[in-house]
C-alpha cells in the first residue's frame, strides 16, 4: 500500500497529461474510424507488434527485425489502400467534429429524411400522404397503387408528390427505409366531426388509420400544415422534432433509439477504457518499465550561512550522484535539474561534517537516488575578523648596477584587512604587486597595489593601494662583476 502511494506520489502532472493526451488521441481515432475497414485491420497490426516484442524478449533478433519491417511496410500499405477512408474522415469534418463529435448511425437517418422532406413539402404547399404500416396487414384495406421498392430519400419523396407526377395524388407506403408502393388509394373516413379545413387527403388518411394500426402523415396542399393520424387520433405537427418522436414511437425506434444510445455509450465507454488501459500500459512500459542508471556530478549549494562566517575550506565542491529511473526521464536529466542544498545555520567555527543524503538532494519526480559519492562533506568555517597588517614591497627585475635602492617608505605602512580568523592569524605580512626595478633611475614615488591572498581577504572600501617613496643612491665602488 505504501509502495503504491509512494509510486503515485512519484508521478508528475506531466505524466498524467501525457497519458491523458494519448488516450484522447487514440479514442478519437477509434471514434472517427469506427465502422471503417481500417479499424478492423488495426488489431492485426497490434498482434504483429506484440509478436515483435515477444520475439525480441525471446532473443529472436532476426524475427523481431522482420516483424518490425512488416509493421513498417503494413503501415505504409494501409495508408495507401485506405487513403480514401482516411481522407473522408479528415476532409468531411470540421475541427469540432474531429475533436468532440460522435457520428450517428445510419438507421436513424431515414426518420430524419422523412421529417425533413415532410416539412419541406409543407413549406412548398406540396400535398402528401404517407403511410407507415405497423403489425397489421393492410393489403385488404388499400387499393391500387404501383409497387416501387425504392430506397427512401428526400429527392425521391419530393419527386413522388410533385404535382406533375401521375402518382402524386395517391398515398405512398414506407416500410423501414424503403418506399414499397406509391399511388395507393385509401379508404375514406365517414366521420362527421372533422373540421372543414380537412380535405379528401385527410379523410383518406383517417380512414386507413381507423381500420388499421398504421400511422399516416398528411401534408395539406392548401395550408402546408402537417398532420399525423393514428387510429382515431388526429394531431397537427409543428416541427420536425415532434414528427420524429412520433415516427420513432410508431416504428418502435424510440425504444430502439434509447437502447442504441445505451449501446453506443457502452461501446464508447468500453473503447475509452481500452484506450486508457492500452496507453497506460504502453506509458508504464516505456517510462517506468525499463530502469536505467545515470551518474551526474552536481555542485553543492550552501544556504543559511551565519553572518560573519565564511567557508574557508571544503573537502569537495561537487558530489557524484548515482541515479535510477526510466530511460526517457534520465535521458532528459541534467545537473541543473538537481539541487544539493546544505543548510549551514547550525554550523560552528572549525570543522563541520555534513552527510549528503536524499534529505538534502532535490530530485525530479520519478528519479531515485542509488548512491552518493562522497556521502559526507567536510567544511571548515570561520568567523570574520579585522586585522592590521604591515606591507612589504615586492621588488622584481634588475636594478641598474650603478644604483643602490637604499630605502623606501610606504604610506600607509599598515592596512586593515578583514577575513576568516583562522587564515588571518597565519598572515604576518601583506605583499605588494611586483614593482619593476628596471625602470628606476632615480629616487621617486609610485602607487602600488597590495595583493590580497587568499581571495577571502577583503579590504574595506577596496582601498588596497599604497604610495611608495624610494631613495636611490649611486654606487661608489666598481659595478659588480
Amino acid at each position: 500500500m505504501i509502495d503504491a502511494l509512494t509510486f503515485m506520489a512519484s508521478l508528475r502532472w506531466q505524466d498524467f497529461l501525457d497519458i491523458g493526451l494519448n488516450v484522447f488521441i487514440l479514442f478519437r481515432l477509434y471514434v472517427l474510424f469506427r465502422g471503417s475497414r481500417l479499424i478492423h485491420i488495426m488489431p492485426m497490426v497490434m498482434v504483429l507488434w506484440i509478436l515483435k516484442g515477444v520475439a525480441l524478449s525471446a532473443g529472436l533478433v532476426v524475427t523481431s527485425w522482420a516483424i518490425q519491417g512488416i509493421i513498417a511496410a503494413a503501415a505504409l500499405i494501409l495508408i495507401i489502400v485506405f487513403r480514401d477512408e482516411i481522407a473522408s474522415v479528415f476532409q468531411a469534418r470540421n475541427l469540432k467534429t474531429l475533436l468532440w463529435g460522435f457520428p450517428s448511425r445510419g438507421d436513424i437517418t431515414s426518420l430524419d429524411i422523412i421529417a425533413q422532406s415532410t416539412f419541406e413539402m409543407g413549406k412548398n404547399k406540396i400535398g402528401a400522404l404517407m403511410v407507415f404500416p405497423a403489425a397489421k396487414e393492410i393489403n385488404d384495406i388499400i387499393q391500387g397503387g404501383i409497387d416501387w421498392d425504392g430506397k427512401l430519400s428526400r429527392e425521391m419523396l419530393l419527386s413522388i408528390f410533385w404535382d406533375k407526377n401521375p402518382v402524386h395524388d395517391g398515398a405512398l407506403i414506407i416500410k423501414g427505409n424503403r418506399i414499397s408502393r406509391v399511388g395507393v388509394i385509401l379508404p375514406l373516413s365517414r366521420r362527421n366531426d372533422l373540421p372543414s379545413r380537412y380535405g379528401t387527403r385527410h379523410r383518406a388518411g383517417l380512414g386507413l388509420a381507423e381500420s388499421s394500426d398504421c400511422l399516416v402523415i398528411i401534408v395539406s396542399e392548401e395550408s402546408g400544415r402537417v398532420t399525423v393520424v393514428k387510429e382515431n387520433e388526429i394531431q397537427d405537427i409543428r416541427n420536425m422534432e415532434q414528427l420524429k418522436i412520433i415516427l420513432e414511437g410508431h416504428s418502435g425506434k424510440g425504444k430502439k433509439r434509447n437502447s442504441a444510445l445505451w449501446k453506443n455509450m457502452f461501446e464508447y465507454g468500453t473503447s475509452a477504457l481500452v484506450c486508457l488501459t492500452l496507453v497506460t500500459g504502453i506509458w508504464f512500459g516505456l517510462s517506468r518499465g525499463r530502469e536505467t542508471l545515470k551518474t551526474v556530478v552536481v555542485p553543492l549549494e550552501y544556504t543559511d550561512i551565519q553572518k560573519d562566517f565564511e567557508i574557508i575550506e571544503s573537502s569537495t565542491n561537487t558530489v557524484t550522484l548515482h541515479l535510477g529511473g526510466s530511460v526517457p526521464l534520465l535521458k532528459s536529466l541534467g545537473p541543473e535539474k538537481i539541487k544539493i542544498i546544505l543548510k549551514l545555520n547550525a554550523a560552528s567555527a572549525g570543522e563541520n561534517i555534513y552527510t549528503v543524503s536524499s534529505k538534502n538532494i532535490l530530485l525530479p519526480p520519478g528519479v531515485h537516488l542509488k548512491k552518493v559519492e562522497p556521502s559526507s562533506v567536510t567544511l571548515v568555517l570561520d568567523g570574520t575578523i579585522a586585522m592590521q597588517l604591515p606591507i612589504q614591497l615586492n621588488w622584481s627585475g634588475k636594478l641598474s648596477e650603478q644604483l643602490i635602492l637604499a630605502q623606501a617608505q610606504i604610506k600607509p605602512q599598515n592596512i586593515t584587512v578583514t577575513g576568516p580568523q583562522k587564515i588571518l592569524k597565519t598572515i604576518t605580512t601583506l605583499y605588494t604587486e611586483k614593482i619593476p626595478l628596471n625602470t628606476i633611475n632615480e629616487s621617486g614615488n609610485r602607487e602600488v597595489a597590495v595583493i590580497l591572498q587568499p581571495s577571502s581577504l577583503k579590504v574595506p572600501d577596496k582601498k588596497n593601494m599604497v604610495t611608495v617613496t624610494y631613495t636611490v643612491v649611486k654606487r661608489e665602488e666598481e659595478p659588480l662583476q
Binding site: L393, S396, Q409, T429, L437, L480
Partner: protein, 140 residues
C-alpha cells in the same frame, strides 16, 4: 691578537652607533630596558666591521646578503637571534652572542637562484621578543 681584534670591534661599533644615521623604515619595534638595538641594517658586505652598501634590494648576483646589528647597554653576556624569512617561511634562525657593554653582530644568507622575492629578517632577544624586522628583496 684576539684581544686586539675585540678592542677594534668595540671601537668600530662605537663609531658606527654615533656616526651612521638610522635608516628610514627601520623603526625599532620593541626596546627592552636592558639593552638597546642601536643599529640594524641589511647590506651587501661587511668590511672592517662596517656594513657596506646598506640597501633594501639586493641582486642575486651578489651571492650573499648580510644582516648587521649593533647593541648597546649590554649588561651581561647574552644572545640574540637573526631569523631569516623568505616570504613568510622561516629559512634560517641564527643564534648570535652579545657581550657587554656594546656589541655588533652579523649574520648572512647564501643566495641561490630560487631566492628571488621578498625577504625579512626578524631580530629577537633571547626570550624571542621581536626587536626589529628588516625587510628587503632579492632581485635579478
Amino acid at each position: 691578537m684576539n684581544t686586539l681584534k675585540l678592542t677594534l670591534l668595540i671601537v668600530q661599533t662605537f663609531l658606527l652607533v654615533y656616526c651612521l644615521p638610522i635608516r628610514a623604515g627601520e623603526i625599532q619595534e620593541v626596546t627592552p630596558a636592558a639593552m638597546v638595538l642601536s643599529h640594524a641594517v641589511m647590506c651587501e658586505s661587511i668590511e672592517d666591521f662596517k656594513p657596506q652598501n646598506p640597501a633594501i634590494v639586493f641582486s642575486i648576483d651578489l651571492g650573499k646578503v648580510f644582516c648587521f646589528t649593533t647593541f648597546e647597554q649590554i649588561k651581561e653576556t647574552t644572545h640574540i637571534y637573526h631569523k631569516w624569512f623568505q616570504v613568510d617561511r622561516l629559512v634560517s634562525k641564527k643564534k648570535l652572542t652579545l657581550k657587554p657593554p656594546q656589541w655588533s653582530t652579523i649574520s648572512s644568507m647564501q643566495l641561490r637562484m630560487a631566492d628571488r622575492g621578498p625577504w625579512y629578517v626578524e631580530i629577537t632577544d633571547k626570550d624571542d621578543t621581536l626587536l626589529q624586522r628588516l625587510r628587503f628583496s632579492i632581485s635579478d
